[in-house]
């Protein structure tokens, strides 16, 4: 919207400013075309598809059918039966994304802080290393963790070879692990578990967390920290009263970006999450690309996920403003 206004106002420039303004309408037009064709049209198409009608045994047709949204909340067989299947999947989308993004920021923060206090050279080396880690795709990362957690090549093998599994069996803890779903009759197991899912998702966004936190942390003036210390503040107090308040906004912003990024996580969920605890992203893909070819229901689920995510971001933003106003 703002860009359209920009185009209109720049088409009637004051005569003296004509030459530099002449290039702006072109840039604005290109920007508009890009936004409209790559963001707005696809988005409108998704909305339109979400009202499509499923034809049993075939694909679907254009229509104006609310049943896809109804199905999200009560299931396809309603009113005979009612299911909260899709609401639970929505919940799991948020559950994994929130925990994994908070965990990533919490562990990346100390690292980024220590890194920002290093010499220029070592900072550069770390940043290059992290940027190359970012280039690893989700598939690759998941494959790596899959091997690390596998029975014959990973952590369970370490348990077995070190005698830990036998010790667990004699001490009775093994039965407890079996009850928790962390062991089969032969050995411990870590897939599929929430633990594996969340660790992998955190790992996936961890480099982003460091890269996003680093500029804010690097800007903190060393002399402020030294002043606090000379006045007798122990390191933790310095962290709590000087460092954290000055990077409060970047920390919240980073968490939110990672959270939104992780809402769409697919590979980690399909590999590590139990089917009873899978997310809406998996369900959307199943609907659109799976055997039922039910793109309308997939689109409806995607829209509900989007609306819920926007609502959550709005609430966080409002809480942020309220606390700022209070201060």
């Amino acid at each position: 919207m703002t860009t359209t206004v920009g185009v209109e106002s720049s088409t009637t420039p004051p005569p003296g400013l004509a030459p530099p303004q002449r290039r702006l309408p072109l840039a604005n037009t290109i920007f508009c075309v890009v936004v409209v064709s790559f963001c707005i049209i696809p988005f409108l198409l998704v909305i339109a598809i979400s009202f499509g009608e499923k034809i049993e045994g075939a694909a679907w047709r254009w229509s104006f059918d609310h049943s896809n949204y109804l199905r999200f909340f009560v299931g396809a067989d309603w009113p005979d039966t009612r299911t909260t299947l899709y609401i639970r999947r929505l919940w799991f989308s948020f559950y994994y994304a929130i925990i994994a993004s908070v965990l990533a920021v919490a562990t990346a923060f100390p690292f980024a802080y220590v890194m920002s206090r290093q010499s220029r050279r070592s900072q550069t080396l770390w940043l290059v290393f992290l940027l190359s880690a970012v280039s690893l795709s989700e598939v690759f990362v998941v494959m790596g963790w899959d091997i690390l957690l596998s029975n014959r090549s990973g952590l369970p093998m370490v348990f077995k070879e070190t005698g830990l599994t036998d010790w667990l069996k004699t001490s009775g803890w093994f039965e407890v692990l079996r009850e928790w779903g962390l062991a089969n009759p032969r050995n411990v197991r870590f897939k599929p578990t929430d633990f594996a899912t969340i660790v992998t998702m955190s790992y996936l966004v961890w480099p982003y967390a460091v890269i996003l936190l680093y500029p804010a942390l690097a800007r903190i003036d060393n002399s402020m920290l030294e002043a606090a210390r000379t006045m007798g503040a122990p390191p933790l107090t310095v962290l709590r009263t000087v460092v954290l308040p000055s990077v409060r906004l970047p920390v919240i912003g980073t968490t939110l970006i990672l959270f939104v990024f992780l809402l769409g996580s697919y590979v980690a969920i399909t590999v590590f999450a139990h089917p009873s605890r899978q997310t809406l992203a998996v369900s959307v893909y199943d609907s659109v690309r799976g055997a039922t070819m039910n793109a309308p229901f997939g689109a409806a689920q995607a829209i509900v996920l989007l609306i819920t995510a926007v609502l959550v971001l709005l609430i966080v933003w409002m809480i942020g403003r309220r606390t700022e106003a209070l201060q």
């Binding site: 499509g52 499923k54 034809i55 049993e56 045994g57 075939a58 694909a59 679907w60 047709r61 254009w62 229509s63 299931g75 396809a76 067989d77 299911t83 299947l85 639970r88 999947r89 899959d146 596998s150 029975n151 014959r152 090549s153 079996r178 779903g181 062991a183 089969n184 009759p185 032969r186 197991r189 897939k191 599929p192 399909t270 590999v271 139990h274 089917p275 009873s276 899978q278 659109v288 690309r289 799976g290 055997a291 039922t292 070819m293 039910n294 793109a295």
Partner: protein
Amino acid sequence: MPHLKSDSSTLSTATPEKNRRTFLKTAGAVAAASAFGSFPVIAQNRTLKVGSYGGYFEDSFKKHVYPAFTEATGIAVESVTQPNSTDWLVTMQQAASAGSVPADLSLYARDTMIKASRIGGLLSSIDVAKIPSTENLDPYFLFEGGEGVLGVGAMSWFTSMVINPDEIDAPASWADFWDQEQFESSLGLSRNFNSNLLDIVAATFFDGAKTFDTEDGIVALVEKAAELKPNVTLWWSGESQMEQGMKNGDVIGGMYYHDVASLMAADGFPIKSVFPKEGNPQGYGSWCLSSLSEKSAEAMEFIAFSSEPSTQALMSRMIGTAPLLEQSKTDLTDDEFASVSGTPAIQPAYEAYLDKETFIKETWDNMLAAG
């Protein structure tokens, strides 16, 4: 999506036009082919784009089957990678509405092929009367849609019971998988509602495919499948997950493709494909000609080649698929036949999976999602 009758007028008129154009071209090509049939054809520029499932499967086709076809007919094959059957139908459907398709012949499983025929406008009919070698195949493998034969069987495969022979003895029945003493958190089964676990349950505990006729029957099948949940550690969605699971020892049994299991066993991995007394579900792939393809004549020759007993035997030897004709018609030895096929075969309830797809999928997903 945009091939359906209620579409906007531009789209619905566009498709028949294309069909007519394709038909004319096809008719011309067939006429030309039959007119010059007795003369050597200038072969250099005859090509055909053929789709098959990527990975080992497609590689074997490129290495063993396509060169033999080119040698026999002079038609060069351009191999096209299909991720699988259903994904490919989505791709082909979108490509068809855009007006150009990535493959002339695609390989579809029976349910996907029925779905494509119900969507309509995606497949050309194949005149099997002109392809004598198709008479070798069991008529079940020539799929009749509304407009004639829409798919000719290519090869068949089994979704087998597999076990790790180092850990357990081969069970005599699928029912053994329900034994929690032996299999707690140890099995790998497919997560998709239509990947034959329900057919196995129907054959093992109920009246086979008939059980799918009523919604109560379907609920009973799903409830019986739910009893397996404590024994399943891996609900796989991608074939490679199960492959890794068996190799890593994360699972000691489950369901997996008979052909791939045999190949893995030949490579020394601890896996054995078993035919329990109820049998294993049999699936098969069909060659289907895209309605936008202009290579109908070449496609006919390819289908003719594929239906030959010698080609069926070649695929069994090199790819590990089961032939679509009796063993006696091929030169496969008993051992060779046993390594690609087995009895009895469970025929999946294809029609029910389509007619009641939303109900079965949601009942199934609810079962997986519970507790």
